[in-house]
Symmetry: none
DNA sequence: TATGAATGAGTTTTCATTCAT
DNA sequence: AATGAATGAAAACTCATTCAT
């Protein structure tokens, strides 16, 4: 793993390897961000090498989070790109939930982003990330508006509020192991619904209200 | 402030003082949790004394968060306790937003809770907190069901989803100072709406969808 | 070594212990400043404890340097305090050189002070140190002026220039072990005189010139 | 700047370029030695290339310091080479101070040399540097002895002690910016004389004493 | 009860140097 | 000769928590 990444393709690959190592580690224990030393080891690199590809530890996780977001947006985009049909909303919901199921760590990382990730991140990098996100968001929003015959701006509303509901519910329902045990007591059943079905129900309600003429 | 708190009333008062000191400090800089040393100083106590009233630092902030939740629930409760009227939903929304306006630090603390607060918290304490929250939630949920003529369980749904949307939007729209500056660029206007109006709009949509027969 | 230093006398003693540990370590290898971890171990304390007594690593060494300076000044002071006599200059020289002989690490630490020590030092602390030094300097300078019948300001000149010559010569003549070996070659004899005799000679010349009417 | 330096003349030129880049950088911020990466960039070379011309970072700065010394010696040499005259000492002092004024970074670099530069320097290189210095010193010393009618060895004494006084005073009087601010307080005026006039006065005293029969 | 002295785990980042290309 | 990707050692400092007084 010490073959030199000379051309920019190799460099991109190495960057991706580091990101992938970080993802594996975080997936394994998503209660805290792995240390740079751990990431380097997992990627088979020296610590210093990681810093050739990322300016700070935070940048690594922010890049990872952005990848997840991009993937999620892409999935949504794909749903609405398909020929219009009556069940587009159902298909959207299914695909959306499937993506989240496939990336259980996305919402964890997202929850940490608020208090940790944005510190210690170079402004230029941060802007680039945000811009990329914005563009994906805008494109998909426009597509949704087109498909559903909505007015300008509604697409972005729907996307942002959908994600807000998702993130908010996750944080309400994802308990750490010790809490999970504690809340197993039937008394707590009301505040311990299954995340996936709860999210499905909540989103249905929200979209119904939002799309109502 | 070193008079000994002997009877349980004095003890409760001292506990409240510590909590109050923590709140003041967090209000002053809600980007990070104040240290125990700071809290002790602010409360006019020694560090060790704080540990006579709280087992861990996290317990302090968890207790604080629970207070905020209780207050929010109480505000909502008050709205629905008043004689039924057509505009109950409008009054709810107004009151709800007003509470959040008055406690800008609630949502910050809440956002930190996920990644920080629940670690390192005694199970018994945690259970007690959760139970208290559950009870408030249940009571208000029942009241809402009664007032709005909803079926059992719907009240809790509404409350949890309302808060989820709130928390999720907050985390999307509350940027740290450096980001705020960065996002001042008109390019980013679409992802930088005002939190309050955005929340109002989102909640309206959600409730409309949820209450639709 | 973990008995608690409660009253201020004990605290001063503990502070002195830390300083003493740092001195021992530096004496042992005076090519580099020992790490805080080493100092703590040598003093039989935990790292964190060291930071209860000194704000930064630099403060430790600066305090140490100030102790050396104070000692040197005191030695000089004692010489001039004795009843005036013709040989006061001879006695001064003897005493001065003896002090330097007894503290070979003083001039090493001093040489490092320029590039290392003054960084990362709290202004208030720094000022206090400088003030203490200034006072010692002023007092001894006044005494010298009195004893030698010099005009105001001359004492300070003499002291500062004497020390400047001392420090400058030291840095010219103190070679690290590898260089010492290298310069053992007779070719280098001219630039490798014995520090002590060279300093004696240089100071004699300087004082002769300075005191000449 | 990546044309290959093949013949030894080109190589010497490239070496000089690196040295010059280091000098420019150090002149710009003489509180710390620039990194090798910075030097390479400033010289328009790759990091690795620098190591083709210098074995270690220290060698660069040591070579630079030697250049400064050589220049200083040459300036002194020139003074004494001129036809003997009564005011040779005055001219020496003027020229000496002028050289230091023109190279304010010399004394900074020199002060750092003690604790940093001589580590990690190859013995052979070190010897060569010292030998070069010795030769310059010897030649100028002989010239001085001749001009001033001094006995053998006195010239070297004068040069070394003169420089020692210079270096020692510099280190006493050159304060980093934060200290300068701190010592602006009139209380500290006595230990804050102007370096140049203080050096002039000190050297006058020293030379008077040294040349006195 | 209250105090505050003592503890010590835990991690990012820089940068001189090497060496494959 | 020139490049620049990769290496990895090295250390200060914070702060939650404990416990002797």
């Amino acid at each position: 793993m010490c073959a030199r990444a000379i051309d920019s393709e190799d460099k991109a690959a190495r960057r991706a390897e580091i990101l992938s190592a970080a993802r594996r580690l975080f997936l394994h224990d998503s209660r805290q961000l792995p240390s740079v030393a751990q990431i380097a080891t997992e990627a088979g690199l020296a610590k210093g090498t990681v810093y050739l590809y990322f300016q700070t530890k935070e940048e690594i996780f922010f890049a990872l989070l952005n990848e997840y977001f991009a993937g999620l947006l892409q999935a949504v985009h794909a749903v609405f790109e398909a020929p219009a049909s009556d069940d587009v909303l159902t298909r959207f919901m299914t695909r959306y939930l499937a993506y989240l199921d496939a990336c259980p760590e996305l919402l964890r990382l997202d929850a940490m982003a608020y208090s940790v990730l944005e510190r210690n991140l170079d402004d230029v990098i941060l802007r680039a990330f945000k811009l990329e996100l914005l563009q994906g968001l805008t494109a998909t929003a426009a597509l949704i508006e087109d498909r559903l015959g909505l007015s300008a701006g509604r697409g972005l509303n729907l996307l942002m509020r959908t994600y807000a509901l998702t993130r908010g519910l996750w944080q309400s329902l994802d308990y750490p192991p010790n809490l999970k045990l504690l809340l197993a007591d039937p008394v707590f059943a009301p505040i311990r619904p299954d995340f996936r079905s709860e999210l499905g129900a909540a989103l249905s309600e929200y979209w119904r209200g939002a799309l109502e003429s």
